[in-house]
């Protein structure tokens, strides 16, 4: 139980936060849309993954398929609902809340209330004399990969350039001939895919159940708000801070204390930096 184990627990807690918040952060940072159905998007991703695995698809492929499916689902939602509501922040909130209820009710009706699992056989490895699930280590890698891919997309592709431009100044970007509608659609799809990825990759740990979104949504919210409006930097900063606090405090003392200390830090931070950690920054990602 030495330092190595503490580092592992902190890294794992950070990875979890990054996974559950990145999709929300991308959509909020880019479009100032608060997707109240974010948790349910994760839930759909989880079910997509379970259904794929049940059909005999290997887990890693199921996770990717789930992310892809949620990306497409996000695009459909954006076209059918969100795009009519740009600039009407509150209406998007209402619409996504309605969507979240609809999805919970719909999935319960179609697939039943009972949670579903997949069988994983990853075994465990010893860190500092303590067995940890190998899958948890992979989860840390997936979270890092999700951040990296998002950064590469934004930094090195033409599409990323357009997205960053639109984010910095939508009006000028529009005047320069950027089709904002397409940019928003794609961003929403990408954020949804990240939510789906998170839900799917968490299946071996949390399973899939219709109401699972509730467990994540307020954590994701607080992370995104404290992070501020730059999705990548904000998510990374807030997740690292909260994850490290939660991981270390939960390990040394208890889970309850871990959650409480995160909240206290969140309140203090919001007082000091009301627009979030990245709120004062003019440029960034």
């Amino acid at each position: 139980m030495g330092l190595s184990n503490t580092i592992y627990l902190a890294a794992y807690a950070i990875a979890l936060l990054v996974l559950i918040s990145l999709g929300l952060a991308v959509i909020f940072g880019m479009m100032k849309v608060i997707n109240l159905a974010h948790g349910e998007f994760m839930m759909l991703g989880a079910y997509a993954c379970v259904l794929c695995v049940d059909a005999g698809v290997p887990l890693w492929l199921s996770v990717l398929l789930a992310a892809l499916a949620l990306g497409l689902f996000g695009i459909v939602v954006e076209r059918l609902i969100i795009r009519f509501l740009y600039g009407r922040i509150v209406d998007t909130l209402l619409a996504t809340w309605g969507l979240s209820l609809l999805l919970v009710g719909g999935v319960t009706t179609l697939l039943g209330p009972q949670g579903r699992s997949v069988t994983t056989d990853f075994g465990n490895v010893s860190i500092g004399g303590i067995n940890v699930s190998s899958y948890n280590l992979m989860l840390i890698a997936v979270a890092a990969a999700a951040m990296l891919v998002t950064w590469l997309l934004a930094q090195f592709t033409r599409f990323g350039l357009l997205v960053r431009g639109t984010m910095q100044d939508p009006v000028i970007a529009g005047a320069l001939g950027v089709d904002r509608s397409i940019i928003y659609m794609a961003t929403f799809g990408y954020g949804s895919a990240l939510a789906g990825l998170a839900g799917a990759v968490l299946v071996p740990i949390t399973g899939a159940s219709p109401t699972m979104g509730l467990f994540f949504v307020s954590k994701a919210f607080i992370t995104v708000i404290v992070g501020g409006h730059f999705p990548l930097m904000g998510t990374l900063a807030a997740s690292s801070l909260f994850g490290a606090i939660d991981g270390v405090v939960s390990y040394r003392w208890s889970s309850v204390l871990g959650e409480v200390s995160v909240l206290v830090v969140a309140v203090v931070l919001l007082r000091l930096l009301p627009l979030g950690i990245t709120g004062r920054l003019r440029r960034g990602l």
Binding site: K32, I34, L36, I81, F84, L85, R88, I89, V90, D91, L93, L94, A95, W97, G98, L99, S100, L101, L102, L103, V104, G105, G106, T108, T109, L214, V217, S218, F221, I222, I225, V256, E259, V260, L263, A266, V267, L270, R271, P274, L275
Partner: protein, 343 residues
């Protein structure tokens, strides 16, 4: 946000018809208990209680342009405040008063940070939402026997049951029964509605509307916009806290869900379904949404959430201005054009 979406009848004294409307409402509230059973009174009482909460948000948004998603902070504080004080004190009247005043003091502090920190726009909305979630989580983690205020255990997740109903000051032995709670909640909702409407006639109300229209202009005219906004914030917190205390009286229980995301989102829904341009809209919408979910729970439609979600989704896409303004726009096109000519 375009100006027409807000209450445009700002400083005009209400018409005779409005007073007649208020009188009919008052008579309706006075007469209902004689003709209905306790179950209906209970159902309608909770609608009045929630109407106060909706009014609190609707007023803040419609009059002062402050879009707070966290009125449940004060709703929950009011409920818990009444529960803890009344159960400790063994009496109920001053705990009710304190349950409104204490959250107002807290709102003054919170509002000071937010408004004087010049946080506005969506950040204000989201920060208030996060604060209410933080309250929810904190209250949820108080289930151990160490979390006691006076003689009352906070009870975490389970909430506090067995909260005493309000006792009449002249007869402490007789706690309010269903019709008493009905009168109390009905009177509170009606008074808050009338009071807020008449507030528009006062200088405070006019200045608030002025700030909503253009904060810069009002500051150039020498008004301290922040002080007025803080005043509105505290007033709205008081209304929400009253709603929370009445909720505790209504159901004899409080629980952490009062602070929760679901409750917070419901308030937003009432106000949006009702439309922010009137004060009566959110009240009507509260009644409709509450009635709908109460009714759905007894008719066996399968998943209530499925139906409710679909209704909301259709609503926001088809009636974006809210129910009453949309209906009003259909019914009174002539009057509006006449007003425009006059103007």
């Amino acid at each position: 946000m375009s100006h027409q979406e807000f209450a445009s009848d700002a400083a005009v004294p209400p018409s005779r018809w409005w007073w007649l409307f208020v009188a009919i409402l008052a008579a309706g509230i006075a007469l209902t208990p004689s003709y209905t059973d306790a179950a209906l009174q209970l159902d309608v009482s909770v609608i009045f209680v929630f109407a106060l909460l909706a009014l609190s948000m609707g007023f803040l948004w419609g009059y002062a342009g402050i879009l707070s998603f966290g009125q449940t902070i004060f709703f929950g504080l009011g409920g818990y405040g009444y529960a803890v004080l009344a159960m400790n004190a063994g009496t109920t009247l001053w705990p009710l008063v304190a349950a409104v005043v204490l959250p107002m003091l807290f709102s003054a502090v919170l509002g000071y940070f937010i408004i004087y920190g010049r946080i506005s726009d969506i950040y204000l909305s989201v920060i208030t939402l996060v604060v209410t979630l933080i309250f929810e989580k904190s209250i949820r983690s108080t289930s151990g026997p160490d979390y006691v205020i006076g003689s009352v255990r906070l009870n975490g997740q389970n909430g506090i049951p067995g909260i005493p109903a309000l006792q009449l000051p002249w007869d402490a032995a007789a706690p309010l029964s269903f019709d008493g709670v009905f009168y109390l909640a009905g009177a509170a909702a009606l008074l808050a509605y009338v009071g807020l409407r008449l507030l528009l006639l006062t200088p405070f109300g006019r200045i608030l509307v002025g700030i909503r229209e253009s904060e810069k202009r009002m500051e150039l005219l020498g008004f301290d916009a922040r002080a007025y906004k803080l005043g509105a914030f505290v007033l709205a917190a008081g209304i929400a806290a009253l709603s929370g205390a009445l909720y505790a009286i209504w159901g004899n229980f409080v629980s952490p869900e009062m602070f929760g995301l679901n409750q917070a989102a419901q308030v937003v829904i009432w106000v949006i379904v009702g439309g922010r341009s009137t004060l009566i809209g959110p009240i009507v919408a509260t009644g409709l949404v509450q009635y709908l979910s109460g009714w759905l729970g007894t008719v066996g439609v399968g998943q209530v959430t499925l139906v409710l979600g679909a209704v909301l989704l259709v609503f926001v896409l088809v009636f974006p201005k809210g129910l009453l303004p949309t209906l009003g726009g259909l019914r009174w096109p002539r009057r509006r054009s006449r007003e425009r000519r006059r103007g």
